[in-house]
């Protein structure tokens, strides 16, 4: 009985949360003609025309390039952010270094619209020749990702019993060794969580992608609207939907794979307490 109720709640939640995704999916199979006459979820005459339009590579539109750019910059922005945040989080949680200044300062970066840095960054990037490069965008996404990674990791390390550190210290290990050998394995769920959320955030970033790239390093969020801007600022909803589905697939797959990781490492995490 209760199980049936759980399934019911799951179904309602799945549909409600995913409603825009479902509509997008349905719309991506509708022709322009059907779109103007059939607003419902059911597709009367499914067409792959929208997807064909998305995957057609021309000298101007290249979905593969945008996906590749997004993948590269998102990975860079995520891995680098976690690599920088992990040791700092350890220092903050255990060494009480900068917990009153550095931590709130960085967390605060998430509250401020980073776009105010756009102009100075633009000028700096111009000088460093980082404009329209994947490296440049990856570095910005690192800044975008740092606050969340730091919060998650500081929390996770604080949750670990300090006795573990002390025991290792007794054994003669130094802090760096403890970080690598003791803390990192135990924090795997938190690290994977930071990586997933970081990747999603980086993948979905729009404004810096718009401002700092022109052609070679254009990410998929920006490239997406290349496809569906019709005459005079209108939107080709079918193509827009198809490109959204294509653009959401990589983080979806990655999330799935990484999620396995989390659930796999959950038992490791449960040792603590």
């Amino acid at each position: 009985m209760i199980t049936a109720l759980r399934w019911f709640v799951f179904a309602v939640a799945a549909i409600a949360l995913n409603f825009p995704v479902l509509v997008t999916l349905s719309t991506s199979f509708k022709s322009a003609r059907e779109l103007s006459g059939n607003p419902g979820l059911w597709v009367q005459a499914p067409t792959f025309e929208n997807y064909r339009a998305v995957f057609e590579v021309s000298d101007r539109l290249n979905i593969f390039l945008y996906l590749f750019n997004s993948l590269t910059v998102a990975l860079m922005g995520t891995v680098l952010a976690v690599a920088l945040a992990l040791p700092a989080a350890y220092a903050i949680a255990r060494g009480r270094i900068g917990e009153r200044t550095l931590l709130p300062f960085i967390v605060n970066l998430r509250a401020v619209p980073l776009i105010i840095f756009a102009i100075p960054l633009y000028m700096m990037f111009q000088w460093l020749a980082l404009l329209d490069t994947r490296l440049g965008l990856g570095l910005i996404l690192t800044i975008v990702n740092l606050p969340l990674a730091l919060v998650i990791l500081v929390n996770a390390i604080r949750d670990l019993p300090a006795e573990l550190d002390e025991a290792a210290l007794m054994d003669g290990a130094n802090r760096t060794q403890i970080l690598i050998k003791v803390v990192t394995p135990l924090c795997r769920p938190a690290i994977v969580t930071s990586l997933i959320f970081g990747f999603i955030t980086a993948w979905n970033e729009f404004l810096f992608g718009l401002m700092l790239t022109t052609s070679k390093a254009v990410p998929v969020t920006v490239g997406a609207s290349f496809f569906f801007a019709a005459s005079g600022g209108g939107v080709q909803w079918g193509v827009a939907s198809a490109v959204m589905i294509v653009g959401a697939l990589p983080p979806m797959l990655l999330g799935l794979v990484m999620y396995r990781q989390i659930s796999g490492s959950m038992t490791a995490g449960a040792v603590k307490g």
Partner: protein
């Protein structure tokens, strides 16, 4: 980094897309930043191809095109120009933003034919402080789109006419009778919009008489301002005094408010812009709307708008006591101050303003406003351009100050204040007073 490299290789192999890295552009020497996605892009491509094919164009003066996306286009362009980008030599310009970008651009020299091809008033859409900053390639203005079938039926229907008179008396305070749309005043438009609204007239064949685009967005103010203009509105008089707090503006604001409050336009109109309004009209549930000329292609295409394509007609916007008006602005191309190949870029611009280029542009779905003599050469292929040129010449206007450096900010201000009035968040007096004060600050 090795991780990324491995990923890259894996992706390359997996996708098997050879074109991936072949996207590196050939080294072209004149880079043109265009308006992406629409007919403007198609036309520019054709023009660039024609130019590059000419034997007398040097290899290092050939034209390469660059496109951003439309969302945030002007904001990005602003950042690029202000920071001194060298990514493009020529870039898109619009009449309403010319004053904002002129400090980062250089005046250009047009071909000798330009005057004969475009005429003075159209060339003026690309001028700032007396200097020519661009070649006017596309012209935007507004049409009144209406459902021919519905209006014709009403004109033949005596019971309908009586109802129409009753409705117009009740809402507008005067008895009106239906007219053909090319004779409409704004009162006729309002009466028609109310008549075809089910909330007002339960027998109406359409749910709404019109669809207004009322999102807090500067472009929506451009669409609307032809209403007050027909009553004599202007941003400022010749002495530079702001004249927005006037009866003309009041009248224009009130007509829209009347239509919105009485349900003659969808309730969500305050979030509508170009795309939403088109979708509403294309559904067949709207009788008439004021909209950009750019919508004509989609709304009369049987593929894209099967419900209305065959019964949709366009005329110039309705008239007021001061005459009939349509907002116009031009899109064009100008020279980036930091361009790396200024000479090559200037050559292309000169050609782009020639008759040959204008005709190429027109034949490939561009929308240049050509003089009557020139437009005849493409009249068969592009009858709509005849109408465009005619309307622009007869009814086109630009508000005093609408090409100044702060023009965009003025539109932004008006959008905020006027939508505040339409959505009942402030009185019409406050909206006009705030606008007047803000505009005085901006345009001083």
């Amino acid at each position: 980094m090795t991780f990324a490299t491995t990923k890259r290789r894996a992706l390359l192999t997996a996708a098997g897309i050879a074109g991936l890295l072949a996207a590196t552009p050939a080294l072209a020497e004149v880079t043109v930043l265009g308006w992406p996605g629409g007919p403007e892009e198609t036309a520019l491509r054709a023009a660039a191809d024609a130019y590059n094919a000419k034997p007398d164009v040097a290899e290092n003066d050939k034209v390469e095109l660059l496109f951003f996306n439309r969302d945030g286009f002007w904001d990005k362009l602003q950042a690029d120009l202000a920071a001194g980008s060298k990514a493009f030599d020529l870039n898109l310009l619009a009449t309403y933003s010319i004053g904002r970008y002129a400090p980062f651009m250089e005046p250009v020299e047009l071909s000798d034919e330009a005057k004969a091809v475009y005429g003075d008033s159209v060339l003026a859409t690309m001028q700032y402080q007396g200097k020519q900053y661009g070649v006017p390639t596309d012209l935007s203005l507004h049409f009144m789109y209406f459902r021919k079938d519905l209006i014709e039926a009403l004109l033949k229907d005596d019971a309908g006419k009586a109802k129409y008179a009753e409705i117009s008396e009740k809402y507008l305070g005067k008895k009106l009778e239906p007219k053909t749309p090319d004779e409409w005043t704004w009162d006729d438009y309002a009466a028609t919009a109310l008549y075809f609204t089910q909330a007002v007239n339960p027998d109406s064949p359409t749910r709404y008489g019109t669809v207004l685009q009322l999102k807090n967005l500067l472009f929506n103010i451009m669409v609307w301002q032809s209403v007050p203009r027909a009553y004599g509105a202007n941003w400022m008089d010749d002495s530079g005094k702001i004249t927005v707090n006037s009866d003309a503006y009041r009248k224009g604001l009130e007509i829209y408010k009347l239509l919105y409050d009485n349900g003659a336009t969808p309730k969500d109109s305050l979030s509508y812009e170009f795309a939403e309004a088109n979708a509403a009209f294309a559904s067949g549930q709207v009788a008439a709307m004021l909209q950009w000329n750019a919508a004509a292609g989609d709304l009369t295409s049987k593929e894209k708008s099967p419900a209305v394509a065959e019964v949709t007609e366009t005329v110039a916007p309705p008239a007021g006591p001061e005459g009939r008006f349509t907002h116009i602005h031009g899109l064009g191309f100008g020279l980036n101050k930091n361009a790396e190949n200024k000479e090559g870029a200037a050559k292309f611009l000169k050609w782009l303003s020639s008759k040959e280029a204008a005709l190429t542009y027109a034949k490939n779905s561009g929308a240049p406003a050509l003089t009557p003599e020139v437009v005849t050469e493409v009249a068969v292929a592009r009858p709509d351009l005849v109408k465009l040129g005619e309307f622009a010449g007869k009814y086109g206007y630009v508000m005093n100050g609408a090409t100044s450096a702060k023009a965009l900010s003025v539109y932004e201000l008006q959008a905020k204040e006027f939508t505040g009035y339409w959505s009942d968040q402030q009185s019409i007096d406050d909206a006009l007073a705030n606008t007047e004060k803000g505009m005085a600050d901006l345009l001083k």
